[in-house]
């Protein structure tokens, strides 16, 4: 049974208008939001400058906690980036139409998450100014990075993923940028003219476009899976108890999809409300997103249980003690919070009444993401607190410097996203039109016949239609 995801009576022009209107000069609320984001970034910048000058000490990092929130947040942002790939690429391949109104901002989210995540491997270094040594370049000394290290794989994976996602986002936007070009004046027109690359919307261009799009989607899916698997290899390739877990690649990917979906719900609700995209980001689509999130949450829960079970019934006493410490030790409140938010809270997504109630979903999605952030923290820190050598056991809590920078990263993401929604169409106009087109053919032939013309149609006397490309 196909739900009525979108109203098939929407006119093409209306779609253009609605979306283009969202890009008009912003009202006060937007500027306030942007200012908040910039304030958050400033806090982080101040903290980072302090840390750059003085050393890593102010972050409360110590022996044995050599990693803490920076790495946890890094993994969190990488995880969030899987949202776009999931919606753009995976759902595209299985021809899930309902993704069409929402995949654009999801794809943008992917790119910006990666841009945020990419900051952290730089910030957490002791000698930030030498960070480019991780990249393989021909140096006089003939020194290359250590290709055996998961951190170097990270460098490759993330740059590849970022490049590909950005490219995918851009390419997918070309037809829309052409629409923008045709309706813009001033600096915008110049910008869109350049960016739309001479798109005219003729048949040949569309055919090539479709091929490229599909190809990139197919390319991006294994890339996304491998990127987060590689990021999980930061932990899985080590010897530490609690990290040295073979299920980490799928676990991290599941967690990534989970936090990505939750973030989609959050932004979905925000965009729908502020830009009045009610007709495009419809409740049925919301429901489908929630159901998808719920499914992924269950997968994540299952993988969690596997990890606990394998440790509990296994022979590695050190890992088992660590697991018990996670449940009852000093990190227990956060750990239990993570379990609740990650495994119990998603059940709210199983109830239709709750699913359809957007304020509830907004709050729930934020908490789901909080749960996923906690999950990353609970992976990084307890292992370092309770490793093999009991003399080295220690509990450490992050300092304001770390919290500031983590806090600021959300501001950075927010700022990028806010700029995006005003400069680029956050709903994919052409794909919504496709969606409407298919619905018309599927549901009501007469509407289709009335509205859709073909070259072979008898056109005598017909008025030129307003439906544009």
């Amino acid at each position: 049974m196909q739900t009525k995801d979108i109203n098939e009576n929407i006119a093409w022009a209306k779609i253009n208008e609605d979306v283009l209107r969202s890009m008009e000069n912003p009202r006060m609320g937007y500027w306030v939001a942007l200012a908040c984001c910039i304030a958050m970034i400033s806090v982080a910048v101040v903290a980072e400058i302090y840390q750059y000058q003085v050393g890593m000490g102010p972050s409360n990092l110590n022996w044995p906690h050599m990693w803490d929130l920076y790495i946890a947040t890094f993994v969190f942002w990488i995880g969030m980036s899987h949202s776009g790939t999931l919606l753009s690429a995976i759902l595209h391949i299985i021809q899930a139409d309902w993704r069409k109104p929402i995949y654009r901002f999801a794809e943008a989210m992917t790119t910006f998450s990666l841009m945020t995540a990419g900051l952290f491997p730089i910030i957490h270094l002791g000698r930030v100014w030498n960070m480019y040594w991780v990249l393989p370049y021909v140096s006089d000394r003939g020194i290359w990075p250590n290709f055996r290290s998961p951190l170097v794989w990270d460098a490759f994976a993330i740059t590849t993923y970022l490049t590909s996602s950005a490219l995918f986002l851009f390419i997918g936007m070309i037809p829309d940028l052409a629409i923008c070009r045709d309706n813009a004046r001033g600096w915008r027109q110049k910008l869109y003219t350049v960016l739309s690359m001479g798109w005219q919307g003729d048949d040949r261009q569309w055919r090539h476009f479709r091929k490229i799009y599909l190809l990139m989607a197919c390319f991006l899916i294994p890339l996304a899976v491998s990127v987060h698997s590689i990021v999980s290899a930061d932990f899985a390739m080590s010897i530490m108890p609690g990290w040295h877990v073979t299920t980490f690649p799928p676990y991290f990917v599941a967690g990534a999809l989970y936090s990505g979906c939750a973030a989609i719900i959050t932004l979905f609700i925000l965009l729908r409300y502020f830009f009045r995209f009610d007709e495009y980001m419809t409740i049925p689509i919301m429901e489908k997103t929630c159901k998808l999130t719920f499914a992924i949450a269950m997968v994540w829960t299952y993988l969690n249980i596997i990890e606990f079970a394998a440790t509990w019934y296994g022979h590695d006493m050190v890992a088992k003690e660590l697991l018990i410490n996670k449940f009852i030790g000093p990190h227990a409140p956060f750990f239990w919070a993570m379990l609740f938010l990650g495994s119990v809270l998603p059940f709210t997504l199983a109830f239709e009444k709750l699913r359809r109630h957007l304020p509830t979903m907004f709050v729930v999605s934020l908490f789901l993401n909080l749960g996923m952030w906690l999950e990353r923290w609970m992976i990084v820190t307890p292992t370092l607190s309770y490793s093999y050598q009991p003399f080295a056991w220690d509990v450490m809590w992050p300092s304001m410097v770390q919290w500031s920078i983590v806090f600021g990263s959300f501001g950075w993401f927010g700022m990028l996203f806010l700029i995006f929604v005003k400069v680029f169409p956050s709903v994919s106009m052409y794909e919504v039109k496709e969606m409407v087109f298919h619905r018309r053919h599927y549901h009501s032939d007469e509407v289709a016949n009335k509205l859709h013309r073909r070259a072979s149609d008898d056109q005598s006397g017909a008025e030129p239609t307003r439906e544009g490309a």
């Binding site: 890593m56 110590n62 270094l125 998961p150 951190l151 050598q389 009991p390």
Partner: protein
């Protein structure tokens, strides 16, 4: 490098480092620490501070866990699972364990450094290259013994007010912030010893090179030497205890011998052998 060459010598290239791999080891520096003799006096740790320009960090930073003790003297109390019964007092005293970088042959820290700032030398040492380190701290996280220490601050700004800085050993550097460091088996002394031997046109003899900790130990509990030198004291001790490199579980003819390596089941292949402490009952 022809295909034929690779195919013929494949098994040779595949060997792990501890089997000699694709280069011959000149030395394999190792230690034997007798916990029967070790009294836990901590002289080794202070000598290490003196020899290797280790900064004192002060109470607050030390309490936060940002200390720089390359060699730490661990002290454990008896617990029921390890043979001590639940008594009113610590009747068997304490278990002291001096821990310094074990210079593992299959070091877990080496593969994970993104910039190859830590690598295995032909001497069998795990070397830390300070000027290559960018401070990602993965190596320290991956050390199961937690024996790597990070410069969280530029300690040199405060730790050596004049004229304390005149005590600094010019044979090695004072590290800046953002750099990882750890016990090097006094590599500066090894280098000096090897240079002296080559100046005198001979090979390094056992006793030529001694680490600061081994030298200062009042009970001579720490023995340092070349495990490849069959005549060295350390090799004799390893042989006497029937402990061998390259194993995750020693299989000894005499299982009562008390030599062992810490956490060797993790396949780190450390070059430091300990001999269990002894108590009357």
């Amino acid at each position: 490098m022809s295909l034929k060459n690779i195919l013929e010598n494949w098994s040779h290239y595949r060997q792990t480092i501890e089997d000699g791999g694709h280069y011959e080891y000149e030395h394999m520096w190792g230690m034997a620490i007798d916990l029967n003799k070790c009294t836990g006096c901590n002289a080794c740790s202070v000598a290490c501070y003196a020899e290797n320009n280790l900064p004192t960090v002060g109470k607050d930073r030390m309490r936060k866990g940002q200390g720089m003790h390359w060699l730490r003297m661990e002290r454990y109390w008896d617990e029921p699972e390890m043979g001590g019964e639940e008594k009113e007092y610590q009747e068997r005293g304490g278990s002291f364990l001096p821990m310094m970088c074990q210079q593992c042959n299959a070091a877990t820290c080496e593969p994970v450094c993104p910039v190859a700032a830590t690598y295995h030398t032909p001497d069998g040492l795990n070397a830390q290259v300070y000027n290559r380190c960018i401070g990602s701290r993965y190596c320290s996280n991956n050390c199961p013994y937690r024996l790597r220490y990070f410069n969280f601050y530029s300690y040199y700004e405060e730790s050596w007010p004049e004229p304390l800085n005149m005590q600094l050993n010019p044979d090695l550097s004072v590290r800046d912030k953002g750099v990882m460091e750890k016990c090097t088996f006094c590599i500066q002394r090894i280098r000096t010893g090897k240079d002296k031997a080559s100046r005198e046109d001979r090979t390094v003899q056992d006793g030529d090179i001694v680490t600061a900790c081994a030298q200062t130990c009042p009970t001579e509990a720490i023995v340092f030497g070349d495990l490849l030198d069959q005549k060295s004291q350390v090799t004799k001790l390893w042989k006497a205890q029937q402990v061998e490199l390259g194993k995750t579980k020693q299989d000894k003819a005499n299982t009562e011998l008390r030599g062992y390596r810490v956490l060797e089941g993790l396949n780190t292949d450390p070059c430091v052998m300990y001999m269990d402490r002894v108590r009357e009952a």
